[in-house]
Amino acid sequence: MTVERLLKDEATEEKGDRARMASFVGAMAIADLVKTTLGPKGMDKILQSTGRGHNVTVTNDGATILKSLHIDNPAAKVLIDISKVQDDEVGDGTTSVVVLAGELLREAEKLVNKKIHPMTIIAGYRLAAECARNALLQKAKDNKRDPDKFKSDLMKIAMTTLSSKILSQDKEQFAKLAVDAVLRLKGSTNLESIHILKKAGGSLKDSFLDEGFILDKKIGIGQPKHIENAKILVANTAMDTDKVKIYGARVRVDSMAKVAEIEGAEKEKMREKVQKIIAHGVNCFVNRQLIYNFPEELFADAGILAIEHADFEGIERLALVTGGEIASTFDNPESVKLGHCKLIEEIMIGEDKLIHFSGVEMGQACTIVLRGASSHVLDEAERSLHDALCVLSQTVNDSRVLLGGGWPEMVMAKEVDDLARKTPGKKSHAIEAFSHALQAIPTIIADNAGVDSAELISQLRAEHHNDTTNAGIDIISGGVGDMEKLGISESFKVKQGVLLSATEAAEMILRVDEIITCAPRKRENRM
């Protein structure tokens, strides 16, 4: 008697060893894919989209690479997911987390082949992760109280983060840019108030941080191009035809004269509205919605600068920067808070005219203008800068700092190794494997830089036998160097995030002993 078919037609089921193998292979394939982008000498990837136009992205940001992949292997999806979360939460370390999870699974596979139960491996990994985290906690330094030192810490972190990106040539400049921008936020992690503006042309070196606010809009014709001590009204209101909002209203007339009358009334209404706005005593009016020619003309007559169709985020940011409120009604001019700034002027960046607000009330927001040869370069530069900004803003909150260059991994590996020796039972194999996986990260960094990793890692390990060492990989010289002197630092929060998420993901994949794939939903062919 044949066993009845249990699942639907195209559904597949994989069990036991096969399932485990499928997930190991999938996860490791993903890890190997992004492995070569790790570290300062990591290589970039070209991604071509399958959509219309076959857009090309060049990047070495782990999260961006993984996001664009179409993956069918469920275990690989788990890894992509953790990299996304790492991106959302701390912004950097997206590649490391995937690579570490991949290494953990690679080690686990060896153990499984030695007939150690996955649950035992998980128990060992958990102990090891806890121990590694404690090691990091002990070694982390906190320079929050000393502002100068803290700032130099931030600089170092920014430079370390940027050194693996396209911006590495000008990392000092960009690190300073990022640190300045983040420090202006005064501890808030709201990166929205840092506006990154991309303008093709010039070189990356021409990028700069602007203390004010730059709006990518044009000033209306016939309106002043230069306003000092501007009073700004930020609004979200209809300035085209102000429709009657009461439902079901419509115009019904029986003669042309009436049409004209009503049109006149409409115009009158708009004029009134404009008058009200002018009555606020403003000399700059920014609206989220369109401004039609008629009101624009009225504004121009009154000598008011009117900017139309600023997008929603632009408006919010502008309101935040200038300290005004977003208004939609204009009946009480005395109680509406207006925004202020010292100077509004039209500036030129490259070929484009932009509106520049300087001397704004709230110093929090700022604009970073990126210049670069092509849009690909700019996109990648933006991603890199975003990573740096994320890391910095998180570091401002949690100011603990670690050294970089494979130093934290070696410190953790040493502690974990010690734990393995002390732990009785099968778990110790798993703990040892964890330490191997940690050491794989500096190995990969060294490999990517083209230096002799085996030699380097063994030297490092010997150095780390000494508890107070600062030794890490010095990629530039290709040897072991003092990370403290070289000024390579990393944020504690990033490292902790990498460690915990990678362990969690590895655990999740290890626990699986069966994969059931449902039949893919049928798509209607639209061609």
Binding site: A19, D81, I82, P520
Partner: protein, 535 residues
């Protein structure tokens, strides 16, 4: 076969196009059904117990779910076989009724089917087997009652409850911080429990998840968390002693249901209409202000103008809040949901000690916390975790734990876990079997054997030699007359479950046995399977 003859001897067909229908009859049908049922049980078998493995499921849309919750696995599995679907139903009904033990019930049903197959081969009639099972299940349930213990807990002493929830959670991926989660679950249930009526409305507990952070950051909030932010970016982010107006009407001009038209044909009409419109917005905001509200929560959207007016009048507002959340807010704050501005009164406002907006991570996710409510009977469990799968799995695990805590409040009888209850029942049923004359005796004995399957699977999943362990524990139970011996899954060193503090609810266990028996009976009674052929 489906051919009959009419009175003139002409053949006619009862079942149309029988050539295209697959049909199984008699013993063949029963065996096919049993093998399908067993196949489902076999999938779940490895997920049983604290060391059970997870399953990875890929949905038709490509999303991945990692879980070891029986009900979820079966639901997502896309089972096509009819008997397989029965098993899915079985686990689902256990989920609805009890919330926990969804894996166990399927494994037990599978074991019962396996035993039934052996009996069928011996030529015992399926109905007799079914009846034997029925008797045996009654015996087992009575025996469970007998070995169960009442256990005492109170609002101040929640330790026993926490222990029970920990047993439930220990089989899930979240067992790393089962203690913390168990405490959260128990506190949540106690917060909403009606201890006098012994009832808990689980709907009052909202489980929210947000990706990011660690599992350890999961917290219990005595209040409501809404995944929304203030309608205007410049409204205050923190309101103390809030008086909340809960509205289900939009801040927009009215839209009467009946069809109507307003004709504008003169300039005056145009003007008046405009003024009315402005007044309308003004009135709405004024009414909210008049009754003393300091926060407006609305189910619908706001017009831009209304939004600004609210901001202008210093009246923070939240828009597009879902219906369920709105109800919860109303319960928590003791307010009333008001469908019209005209009906707003002071008494209908809800009160909360603190309303604040909190942002997470580097992305611009914000959530609204409403805390210190007038009526703290609604709570929220806010889960953080490494990724979406983790959070979903935590949600499912917490749901199980909440259900267990609720069941304990409803009836505080417990039995001990780790397979000890099943083993004890098995012994009792086996002993009772001899008293029954007739064929049923065999069925009852088989039932006892099937009960052994659960501790066997437990032992197997923990990497222990299954037969050795189960026989050793069984003999120990008889020798010491101690029904609390079970499988030592966590390598603690003792197999007395009372010392290990591993227990489950009595109703949960009873329900498992009853439900499994019922489904098996149903499957056994089927002797003809007619499937339409593929179309």
């Amino acid at each position: 076969m489906a051919l009959a003859f009419d009175e003139y001897g002409r053949p006619f067909i009862i079942i149309k196009e029988q050539g295209q229908k697959a049909r199984l009859r008699g013993l063949e049908a029963q065996k096919a059904n049993i093998s399908a049922g067993k196949a489902v049980a076999r999938i779940l078998r490895t997920s049983l117990g604290p060391k059970g493995m997870d399953k990875m499921l890929q949905s038709p849309d490509g999303d991945v779910i990692v879980t070891n919750d029986g009900a979820t696995i079966l639901e997502q599995m896309d089972v096509d076989n009819q008997i397989g679907k029965l098993m899915v139903e079985l686990s689902r009904s256990q989920d609805y009724e009890i919330g926990d033990g969804t894996t166990g019930v399927v494994v037990l049903a599978g074991a019962l089917l396996e035993q039934a197959e052996k009996l069928l081969e011996r030529g015992i009639h399926p109905i007799r087997i079914a009846e034997g099972y029925e008797m045996a299940s009654r015996l087992a349930v009575d025996h469970l009652e007998h070995i169960s213990q009442k256990f005492e807990f109170s609002v101040t002493n929640i330790e026993p409850l926490v222990q029970t929830c920990m047993t439930t959670l220990s089989s899930k991926i979240v067992n790393r911080c089962k203690r913390a989660l168990a405490e959260i679950a128990v506190k949540a249930v106690l917060a909403v429990a009606d201890l006098e009526r012994k009832d808990v409305n689980l709907e009052l507990i909202k489980v929210e998840g947000k990706v990011g952070g660690k599992l350890e950051d999961t917290e219990l909030i005595y209040g409501i968390v809404v995944d929304k932010d203030m309608s205007h970016p410049q409204m205050p982010k923190r309101i103390e002693e809030a008086k909340i107006a809960i509205l289900t009407c939009p801040f927009e001009p009215p839209k009467p249901k009946t069809k109507h038209k307003i004709d504008i044909d003169t300039v005056e009409k145009f003007q008046t209409l405009r003024q009315q419109e402005q007044k309308y917005f003004d009135d709405m905001v004024q009414k909210c202000k008049d009754v003393g509200a300091t926060l407006v929560i609305c189910q619908w959207g706001f017009d831009d103008e209304a939004n600004h007016l609210l901001m202008h009048r210093n009246l923070p507002a939240v828009r597009w809040v879902g219906g369920v959340e709105l109800e919860l807010i109303a319960i928590a704050t003791g307010g009333r949901i008001v469908p019209r501005f005209q009906d707003l009164t002071d008494e209908k406002l809800g009160k909360a000690g603190l309303v604040r907006e909190k942002s997470f991570g580097t992305t611009k996710d914000r959530m609204l916390y409403i805390e210190h409510c007038a009526n703290s009977r609604a709570v929220t469990i806010f889960i953080r975790g490494g990724n979406k799968m983790m959070i979903d799995e935590t949600k499912r695990s917490l749901h199980d734990a909440l259900c267990v805590a609720r069941n304990l409040i409803r009836s505080n009888s417990i039995v001990y876990g780790g397979g000890s209850a099943e083993l004890s029942c098995s012994i009792a049923v086996e002993a009772a079997a001899d008293k029954y004359p007739g064929v049923e005796q065999y069925a009852i004995r088989s039932f006892a054997e099937a009960l052994d399957f659960i501790p066997m699977a437990l032992a197997e999943n923990c990497g222990l030699p299954p037969i050795d362990t189960v026989t050793a524990v069984k003999s120990q139970q008889i020798k010491e007359n101690n029904p609390y011996c079970g499988i030592d899954c966590n390598d603690v060193g003792t197999n007395n479950m009372m010392e290990q503090n591993v227990f489950e609810t009595l109703i949960g266990k009873q329900q498992q046995i009853l439900l499994a028996t019922q489904v098996v009976k149903m499957i056994l009674k089927i002797d003809d399977v007619i499937t339409p052929s593929a179309y």
